[in-house]
Each structure stands twice: as structure tokens, then as C-alpha cells.
Symmetry: C2
Subunit: 223 residues, 2 copies
DNA sequence: TGACAAAGTAGTAAAATGCTACTATTATAA
DNA sequence: TTATAATAGTAGCATTTTACTACTTTGTCA
């Protein structure tokens, strides 16, 4: 990389795009904004910022989230770097995409300073139809959706979409939404057993039998 | 991303680093080069190039490989993008790392035009000791090693380290090297059965019983 | 007090995995 | 020509995980 080259000083703009996911109404949703300038003025897009010279990509992603939602300290992971030569019609831009996961109850958002509006969009519905999205953002979203489904199986990523305390039925719904398939209750509970612990509390308020509240165990406390 | 920003025209250098893996002498090995200029002149490093303005990151990775080995058309996948502010002592550089996998028999290499020498290094041994490596290349290698072990389990990535035709004992060795653990022969064969098909040929030449040659089935032909 | 409906548990068949031990095949040496 | 070494390949069983059904429990609300 830092190898020399025929064009050693060639430089380009680098941006960060953020895919902020949450679960709402039993659906996986994603924060979109309406662009407030060219190109793609008025078109839905992912929130994003240029990386500043003194800023890591991750810090830039955090800044993008903060600008759009006011939130800090939410779970972030790098997705992929998109670098097609013509992905921006004006000039060469390379963009590092980050996925952010947040429980719905922590999430608030308004239009950013330079953004017309912001809203949550049903991801799977969005990927079905062919509404226009700015740049290559549709491809980025598709990549993220696949990654998310894949990582549910071998990481604890799904827990970032649940709150601090959660019920097992709710947790199961999150897993099912991400995976796109029904799971068996009994087996799901057996598999979760080693990862979670009871808080002692119950979630009443709904009709019918209340469910117990759990929290995610620390990695080290697992059997 | 293509959102406007307070520093909309801030730009930086973007490079690609390549982790070219192969299997040799029962070990996972990686192509390293000795740098031929500052910074880190004379220090081992990953091969890499600056991305040209009219070139995708993937094409740049292919070019880096071609320059060092003469090879084209080998398996490539993006690993991660590294962007610590001080990862290059001179100036801000963001680097996209790519993993390349190639069967040992396809691989030849010599020092590149601007490189002093090139050689294959035992990856796990390298990660044990603390020999100096240029930039954050040690961290990049560590990240790749983990990714590789992880992806063996749920993708066909390991097959890229075997040739077109391979024996099951050889294939099992590749899996074991990547995973870092012994596998049970009988179970391994059952699991591979759906992915592979016999070529009809045998690999003789060794002492003792020859083994059958297989090839990877096309995805669509699998049961 | 009882019905509703979801929370939570039991249990069993089938499939995958962990693990041991066997048989089959070939090259080489005697 | 035969015995032997050593790997290729298979059988088979115990254990664990997964698929799936059906039950019992517990609260709210009429």
C-alpha cells in the first residue's frame, strides 16, 4: 500500500456512509435522509459525511450518526468499502460503509443541518421495489442486509437491536426478522440460555401472561 | 457520504494492501516484500499500490498482485479498510486491504520493480513473534488470519487454496491449517460429499495407496 | 371464576458431530 | 510372489444439536 507508485500523490475524496438499523413494528428498518443538494437533490440516501483529515473513518461514522440523531456510543461495525469509479457522477469518491444497530427506543432523529428530512424505511420492502436511491446506495443496502442475516448466526450482533433488558419472545422476533424465517421457540431458548441471564424483573403491561426479562451475559461469565 | 460537509473537498491518498495467501509445507503462508524506500525502508511489508484515479480498488489489488507475481485472475476478496490517522508517519493514508488466495503451484514471484525482494512467510509463526513489519501491517495480517479461519466454516473459501483437482486428504489438510484444529476424516468426507465430485483420476506417485481426485461442483449442481 | 392467549416446558424423531476401529489399496522390500 | 508399511477410505455407535408437536403455566379481562 504505502508502496510507491506511478501516481504517488494521486488523492481522492473519502466518505463514510452509515446504515443505521433498528427494529420497528416487527420490521427491520433503516434510517434514510432526503438529500438537500446536487447531485441527487431531493432523492433518498444514506446519511454520510466526508472524512476529515484528522478523523478516523469510525469517528466520521459516529459524527454522521450524531448529526442525524444526536446519539453517541451506539454499536458500529464496518461493512464494506465501495469504490466504483463512477459511483459519484461528479468526481472520484470512495466510500466506507458502516452498519449501526440501535434499539428503537433509543432512537430519535430529525433532519440534519444540511438534510431535508429523515425517516425509517422498511429495508426488505425497499429492496423489493425499485424506488430511486442516490448513488450506489441500493447496492450498499443489499450488501448490508445480507451481512446482517449472515452474522446473526455466528455473532451476538442481534442483541444490539434489543434494549438492555429484553424478553425472550421479543429477542426471538428480532432473530426471526434478521434471518427471515421462523424459529422454534424451545430450541431458541436452549441456544440463548448460555448467553443470557434473568434480571429478576418481568414485563407486564401486555395482556395475558407476562414474560421474564433477561440481559446479555458478559462474555466471560458464560458457561 | 456524498453529503456536503464543512470540508467538502478534503481529500487523501487511498491505497490497497494485498494479503496473498497460499499453503506450502503444511503451513499457511503469506507473500511479503521488503520495502525499497522510506518510510520503513528495508522493512518487511505487504505488497500494495496507490489507487489510481481511474481504477477501482479491486483493480488496484489485481495490479499489485500482477506486479509482484505476474498472476492474473486469482481469487480476491475485500478484507477491511484501515484508516487510523497516524498509520503512515508522513501523511494521511487510508488503505483497503484485500485477501488473495492461490494454490501454491500457480504462484511464482520475484521482487517487484520497486521492491527489494519477495518471499513467503509462515503466517501463524509471524503472528507469534514480534518481528517488525511496516505500518499497521501486523494488525492487518491478524485481522485477515481471523477472517480466514471464520470464513472456512460457512463459505467455500478454502477451495481457492487447492488446485483445480485435489485429493480429499489434501483438502482436509487445508481446512485443518485454516481452522487450526484436527478434523475427523469420516465426518469431513461426509460434509464435503455434496460440494465435490470425482474427476475419475487418481493421484499416484506417492508411496502407498493413491487417492482419488475430486473437483469442486458448480453451485447449481449440488444436491 | 373461567376463558383467552401468550409464556414457558417436555419430549421425541431425525440429522449432524465426536470419536474409534475397521477394511482396502498400492508401492516397496524381501 | 508375498509380506509389510502406511495411507485411503468406510462402518458404526455415542452424544449433541436441530426439527417439530404438544403440553402446562400464568397472567389479564370479561
Amino acid at each position: 500500500m504505502e508502496n510507491q507508485d506511478l501516481f504517488p500523490s494521486a488523492s481522492m475524496s473519502v466518505t463514510v456512509d452509515v446504515l443505521l438499523f433498528t427494529i420497528e413494528d416487527g420490521k427491520l428498518k433503516l434510517l434514510l435522509i432526503r438529500r438537500g443538494e446536487e447531485p441527487f437533490d431531493g432523492v433518498p440516501a444514506l446519511p454520510g459525511v466526508f472524512i476529515r483529515p484528522d478523523e478516523t473513518p469510525e469517528a466520521a461514522a459516529e459524527r454522521a450518526i450524531r448529526e442525524e440523531t444526536g446519539l453517541t456510543g451506539i454499536y458500529l461495525e464496518q461493512l464494506y468499502t465501495f469504490g466504483a469509479v463512477d459511483r459519484d457522477p461528479r468526481r472520484r469518491i470512495i466510500s466506507i460503509a458502516y452498519m449501526a444497530l440501535v434499539p428503537r427506543e433509543r432512537l430519535t432523529f430529525t433532519a440534519g443541518v444540511r438534510t431535508r428530512e429523515a425517516w425509517l424505511e422498511d429495508v426488505d420492502a425497499l429492496l423489493q421495489d425499485d424506488r430511486p436511491l442516490a448513488f450506489d446506495h441500493r447496492e450498499i443496502i443489499r450488501t448490508a442486509r445480507i451481512r446482517l442475516a449472515g452474522k446473526v448466526e455466528y455473532t451476538d450482533i442481534a442483541f444490539h437491536l434489543a434494549g438492555e433488558k429484553f424478553t425472550l419472545p421479543d429477542l426471538q422476533r428480532i432473530f426471526e426478522i434478521l434471518l427471515g424465517e421462523k424459529l422454534y421457540k424451545a430450541n431458541f431458548r436452549k441456544k440463548m440460555a448460555e448467553k443470557i441471564e434473568e434480571t429478576g424483573g418481568m414485563l407486564s403491561g401486555g395482556p395475558y401472561r407476562p414474560s421474564k426479562l433477561y440481559r446479555l451475559k458478559k462474555e466471560k461469565d458464560r458457561s
